[in-house]
C-alpha cells in the first residue's frame, strides 16, 4: 500500500490522544497500540516523540495557515484600502477554522484543543517550532487586529488579545464536554459553528470595552501594587 499508511495512522492516533490527555500524559505505547502499529515505527518515521508532536501540528496548521492567508487576502481586497473592522477580522478567522476540511466529526474540536494545549503546556520545543514555522499568518492577524482597534494602547491591546485567545482556546478545547453538560442541563444541542457564532460577539465586545484601567467603583478599586 504505497508508502504505507503507518505514518497517517500514527498521526491520527497521536492527534486524538494528545488532544484528550496532553503531551507528557500520552505515551508512545498508547499511540502505537491505538494506531495498531509497532512501537518502533514512531522513532523510525518521525525520529522522536517531540518530532511527532511537531508533525501532528504541522499536518493541520500548514493547510490552515494557507487557507487563512487566502481569506485575509480576499478580505483586504473587499475592503480596498480601508482597514477591515474587528468583526470582519474575527469572522474571517473563525470561518477559516470552521471550514477547514475535517478528518472526522471531532476534527474541529481536536484542532482547537491542540492549539490550546500548545499555548498552555509550556513545552519549550513546541513553542519554538510554532513560532518559527507560522510566524507570518500570526503577525498578519495581529496587524489586522491593531488596525481594527486604533483606540487601544499597545498594552491594552496585547492583554485583550490574550483574553480572546484564552476564551477561544479554552472553550473550543473542551467543547465536547461543555456541549454534553449543556445537553444534560437544558436539553439543548449546539454545533461548533453556533459556539463560534456566540464567541465572536463576546470577543468583539470585550476588545472594544471602555478603557480597561478605569475601575468601575472607587471603593472597589484594587490598590496599584
Amino acid at each position: 500500500m504505497a508508502q504505507s499508511d503507518t505514518v497517517d495512522r500514527i498521526l491520527d492516533a497521536a492527534e486524538e490522544l494528545f488532544a484528550e490527555r496532553g503531551f507528557s500524559e500520552t505515551s508512545l505505547r498508547m499511540i502505537t497500540s491505538k494506531a495498531k502499529v509497532n512501537l518502533a515505527a514512531v522513532n523510525y518515521h518521525f525520529g522522536s516523540k517531540n518530532a511527532l508532536i511537531h508533525a501532528v501540528f504541522g499536518r493541520f496548521l500548514t493547510p490552515f495557515s494557507a487557507t487563512l492567508e487566502k481569506a485575509f487576502d480576499e478580505l483586504e481586497v473587499r475592503c480596498d484600502g480601508k482597514p477591515p473592522t474587528l468583526n470582519q477580522t474575527l469572522w474571517v478567522l473563525t470561518e477559516s477554522a470552521v471550514r477547514m476540511p475535517q478528518r472526522n466529526e471531532k476534527g474541529i474540536s481536536i484542532f482547537m484543543r491542540l492549539l490550546g494545549l500548545a499555548y498552555t503546556q509550556s513545552q519549550g520545543h513546541l513553542r519554538k517550532f510554532l513560532e518559527q514555522e507560522y510566524s507570518e499568518p500570526f503577525s498578519r492577524f495581529m496587524r489586522l487586529l491593531k488596525e481594527a482597534t486604533p483606540q487601544l494602547s499597545a498594552v491594552d491591546r496585547y492583554w485583550r488579545i490574550q483574553f480572546m485567545l484564552g476564551a477561544t482556546a479554552f472553550t473550543m478545547s473542551s467543547s465536547d464536554a461543555l456541549q454534553d453538560i449543556l445537553r444534560n442541563k437544558l436539553g439543548v444541542d449546539t454545533t461548533v459553528q453556533e459556539i463560534a457564532a456566540r464567541l465572536v460577539p463576546f470577543l468583539a465586545a470585550g476588545m472594544q470595552a471602555q478603557d480597561a484601567l478605569l475601575a468601575p467603583r472607587a471603593e472597589s478599586k484594587i490598590p496599584v501594587a
Copy 2:
C-alpha cells in the same frame, strides 16, 4: 521544631514546581530535593503524589473560599435586596483572589497558574476533588452571575460564562510567560493586579454584548450546519 516543618517545606516546593512545570512534569524527586527533605517524606506525610496535589490546592483554596464567602456576604448586605451588578460580582471575585495573604512575592501568580492548570490539565482526580470540596462558593458565584444578567437566555449565559472562565484561566495560567513577552516587546512591567484590572472590564463587556446570534455581516455568516 514541633510537628516538623517538613510538611510545609514539601508544600512550598511542590506548589512552586507544579505552577512552573505542571503536575506530571514535576517528579517527587524534584520536589523533595528542592524542599531539602527525604524522598520518602512525601509518601509518609501525604500518602501519594495525587494526595500531595490535593493538599497543595487545599492549602490555598480553603482560605480563599472562606474569604470569598465573606466577600459575597458583604456584597449582598451592601446591595440590600437588589441583586449585585455584574461588575460588582466580578470585582469581588478578583479582589478576593488578589487580597489573599501571600506566602511570598510570587504568591498570586502561583495561585492563578495553579487554578488555570486545574482547569486545563484534565487530571480526573483533581477535578473530582475540587468539585466535591468547593462546590458551594462555585455555585453561589453562578447564582450571582445569573441574577446579574437577567437579559441573557440560559444558553447564552452558559456559553458566555465558559468564555469568561477560559479567558481568565488561560491568561492567568500563563501570566508569567505573557508578562515576559510584554516586557521584551514593549518594555512594560505588569503586575497580576493590573492584569485582573484589565480582565474584568473585558469580561463584563463580553457578558453584556448584544444578542449573540445576530451575525454582523450577511455574507460572512456561517451557514447553520
